[in-house]
């Protein structure tokens, strides 16, 4: 317990946001159209929240390559928007390992931080060990 997952940095460019819109089908102009986005509470385009979460799950997939997709669970809150041009950093830490019905389950805090250290996404994941 207390072991950190290997996080990584990612530069969230508008190209990545555009690509995520293609991948998810979410073409909401708040992500893509600067003129429209300037009229919103954010004042500019924002990345999809699910893009930040996708980065977190990349970290989980790397940390638990054989089990994250076989019984993994997550619960997160989206705390702050990520703006194109920002560099975000994923993080995770194992907080508990327990046995349930003969299966070891790892609990981790997980998240993705903005350049100022605030959380864009934060929450918890549980992963069954092999």
């Amino acid at each position: 317990m207390g072991d950190a997952l290997t996080g990584f940095e990612r530069h969230i460019t508008q190209d990545r946001v555009d690509a995520y819109a293609e991948a998810s089908g979410d073409h909401n102009p708040i992500h893509l159209n600067e003129e429209y986005a300037s009229t919103t509470q954010f004042g500019t385009r924002i990345a999809h929240g699910m893009l930040s979460l996708a980065l977190v799950t990349e970290m989980l997939t790397s940390a638990f390559p054989n089990s994250w997709h076989h019984g993994g669970k997550l619960k997160v809150r989206f705390s702050a928007p990520v703006f194109p041009g920002e560099i975000v950093t994923t993080y995770g830490e194992i907080t508990e390992i327990k046995e349930e019905d003969g299966q070891l389950i790892v609990t981790c805090t997980i998240g993705c931080k903005k350049p100022d250290g605030t959380d864009a996404v934060a929450g918890q994941a549980t992963v069954p060990l092999e």
């Binding site: 190209d15 998810s24 089908g25 699910m50 990349e58 390559p65 997709h69 019984g71 669970k73």
Partner: protein, 157 residues
């Protein structure tokens, strides 16, 4: 108005098409309302776009499988559209997300998503809604679940 919306929804389901609603569905939908099923099969082109959006040098090798959260995102897009949240003037905040997966999903594998409105309340003029989704493979077996919480503002009440 509720009757009007219900009739349109019934027609929409019968015709397997979407009908644009003047009043966003989130204004009238009650807990238990079902969405879909949506075909959230992810084909190669979208998987490539996902890798371009998310990937980096340290990215894991998914082989012929998908990141399950991509399927969740595809279902979320359908839900937001059906809830009428792409309507002008509405601002939607994705507040929270839960997801669980029993097994990997292959690129091009048929997956259907069935949503259910689990909560829908108004606080200080904002809608707080939670939609639970079940993901099923071609055999009808559930392979994952998700729950999305959104906050919608800007609606005239």
């Amino acid at each position: 108005m509720l009757f009007y919306v219900q009739v349109l929804l019934r027609l929409s389901k019968q015709n397997h098409k979407r009908i644009s609603l003047a009043v966003p569905l989130i204004s009238t939908a009650v807990v238990g309302h079902e969405f879909g099923p949506y075909d959230v099969t992810i084909h190669t082109e979208r998987a490539i776009a996902y890798a371009k959006a998310v990937g980096g040098d340290e990215s894991p090798d998914y082989g012929d499988s998908l990141a399950p959260v991509m399927v969740v995102a595809a279902a979320l897009t359908e839900l937001i559209e059906d809830l009428g949240l792409f309507s002008g003037g509405l601002q939607t905040i994705h507040a929270g997300q839960e997801a669980s997966w029993d097994r990997p999903v292959k690129i091009g594998e048929k997956v259907d998503a069935i949503g259910r409105l689990a909560a829908n309340s108004i606080r200080r003029g904002n809608h707080f809604a939670t939609v639970s989704v079940s993901y099923k493979d071609s055999t009808g077996s559930e392979i994952g679940t998700s729950s999305t919480t959104i906050i919608v503002s800007g609606e005239e009440t």
